[in-house]
Subunit: 411 residues, 2 copies
């Protein structure tokens, strides 16, 4: 049998086709990653934390102790839903006088991204309808693409926006109320209440994705949709329509890949069945590190330094924009999160082209088209302010302004 | 807005339906987990490694050093495909004189289970056809259930089995050539060659899932399908139809959740797009631990103790079966892996009922129905020999024999 078989050449044998959704996806993330390797490039495209904030020494010590003291839990298979103690700790973290949560309300996920994937698996048939804020998080579009869903835009800023009508027929509603990616916008309290009321009336699941909830630079946080929903149904364990998603990626480090979904027990059950066939369970090593980080108060101790650093960087980015790009773009100063959303004053300015011109000028930004399921929005840019120190942000904006000028001259 | 809104009761509001596949799934895994909490129960149902073999002290030290020495790689976002050094180490591990592998042939997955999920995402439309060995791994059925695929049974043991015909029209073929779960069977060399030839001729993707490849108790391992495929096309980097899947769950510990897929670069690209929307990237912490375990030789050092312990336990289980159950069941002694597949001599013996009777007698086994996509095979049991020491295995078999006798009397 060492002799090659007579059918050794399969050059002509056609392979089965890849699933159709793969032809509708894009390589934006890949392009960003390869752009990151260009020497000297200033990357204000991604959504990356400041790596100097990673508490490496503390996490290293927590990791060693977690494995030594809990060898079975860290190294064995664990429950699909997550380690019971971590689920309890997360339930406790979000419990309030009005919101009663138990372990049965919590699913640990392998990153926030996995939570989006599982929600799609549990709720979407091919072509199912999702109502959402657009532009929206690229990763959410990626997670749901294999189901080739239909999208309906929630026009939250329209004066006559009717939340109930906007939810009709949707499998779920996707929102990022705190400092939405990419727009950086905060959904105000009246709209939060309107969304929650409409979800209660319609029964539609309402996803509250909150990766940036801890990154609040001015004033006090607004109530979560989850909290507002609990107020409508006082005195009982949570069984409402909100699916609250969080992650430790911005509070400790993305490399742990630890997120969670909080919701009604029936939904946690469905997501658990979806997780069973996705990765069986999240690593006990990273779950135990997360639990220790929550229990030891590490997360709370880190927060002030993170918030202070990011506030300073937000201010630096916005100052540089005012100095160099106000002629071409307008933006709101975000009160939290990681991004400034800059919209071109001239509707003819094509930010897909500006993305390319920026690369040639030594700066990488994110064009708005990638946040639009239809890919048509080409008038805005998402600019990240968390990764780079102020002087790099200023230099990045100068390069971007130079690229705009070159583009304007060509036109 | 602290006043509850008028629509506070949503008791009557119907929720959108869950995806249809959820009604076709089962809670077998959940039942096993809860059975595991019954005091005194002997669990020979699962596929769990012997926890006393977990190298906790070594992994704890590797984890601490990994995070201290590589804070960015462990704690930041990493490339979707996996850390380049880990991909290189895995490529090197499987490279031979005939099989040329580079980084572009390797995807790191968050457990072997994720590899199965990604293959489904990349290749299956709703209702797509999978050809596979049945009975088959329950986790594979779980992974593909959201696409509600059709299955065709590869009857490898039939004298007139025609591999080429059996593959026609399938999106992919799923095989576990080494000590298949649940049957424990080894696919022999002529059939391996026949499968590889048919995949080359037909172009159909051929999945070689190999979680147990290192657990070989008698004689030498047979060549992998991947190796046989490379022999057909000497002198070039691998671009054939085999998708080889592995995991560190049986070689180090399941809690790391580190697996891999090796295949043609075009397939690795497609799986990478699927992984982008599944969990973005695998934890840098667990990837760096895995890399250190491979580079330091820990995996190789652990193997003899694992193989010796499991061989002894296999022999103990088979001896107990011969002593207590030969009247009712027949089985082959497996030359590797984790399972004995015991088939009832009497076709009327219902192993779903025996599963329940076993629980009452204090032993948990796996009935064959869960490994059959149609749930119809109720004549066999899967018995695990890796988790329990010999005396517990013997006691478990005695309890099982008692349960069979009680059932036989009732009938």
């Amino acid at each position: 049998m060492n002799t090659p078989s007579p059918q050794q050449t399969d050059v002509a044998a056609p392979r089965p086709a890849f699933a159709r959704w793969l032809s509708t996806t894009n390589d934006v993330t890949r392009r960003f990653l390869s752009a990151g390797r260009i020497p000297g490039l200033i990357n204000i495209a991604g959504g990356l934390p400041a790596p100097e904030l990673y508490p490496a020494a503390e996490v290293a010590a927590l990791a060693r102790r977690a494995i030594e003291e809990h060898p079975q839990e860290t190294l064995g298979y664990g429950p699909i839903e997550g380690l019971p103690e971590l689920r309890d700790a997360l339930a406790a973290r979000f419990t309030t006088a009005e919101l009663r949560l138990g372990r049965e309300n919590v699913l640990v996920t392998t990153s926030g991204m996995q939570g989006l994937d599982l929600i799609g698996k549990a709720l979407l048939e091919e072509g199912g309808l999702i109502a959402g804020q657009f532009p929206t998080y690229l990763g959410a579009l990626d997670a749901w693409r294999p189901r080739r869903p239909a999208y309906r835009n929630l026009l939250l800023e329209e004066p006559k926006f009717d939340a109930f009508a906007a939810m009709a027929g949707a499998q779920f509603v996707y929102t990022v109320p705190n400092f939405s990616n990419p727009s950086g916008r905060l959904v105000g309290l009246p709209m939060r209440q309107a969304l929650v009321d409409a979800a209660h009336r319609s029964g539609v699941w309402l996803v509250e994705d909150d990766p940036y909830g801890a990154l609040h630079y001015d004033g006090a946080p607004l109530p979560r949709l989850l909290d507002l929903s609990a107020r409508c149904r006082p005195g009982r364990s949570y069984d409402g329509p909100i699916l609250y998603m969080g992650t430790l990626s911005k509070e400790i480090a993305p490399g742990l890949r630890i997120g969670w979904v909080i919701g009604a027990p029936e939904m946690i059950e469905a997501l658990t069945m979806a997780k069973q066939g996705s990765d069986m369970c999240t690593s006990g090593v990273t779950q135990r590190i997360a639990l220790a980080a929550l229990e030891s108060g590490l997360v709370e101790r880190l927060r002030p330094a993170i918030v202070d650093l990011y506030r300073e960087r937000r201010d630096a980015l916005c100052a540089a924009l005012a100095d160099h790009l106000a002629e071409w773009f307008e933006w709101e100063v975000p009160v939290g999160g990681m991004f400034v959303w800059a919209v071109a004053r001239d509707p003819a300015l094509d930010t897909d082209r500006l993305f390319q011109a920026g690369l040639e000028a030594g700066v990488c930004v994110t064009p708005s088209s990638v946040f639009d399921p239809a890919g048509r929005n080409r008038r805005a840019l998402r600019l990240n302010f968390t990764l780079n120190p102020p002087d790099r942000l200023a230099e990045g904006v100068r390069r971007l302004a130079a690229a705009v000028r070159v583009m304007a001259k060509k036109d």
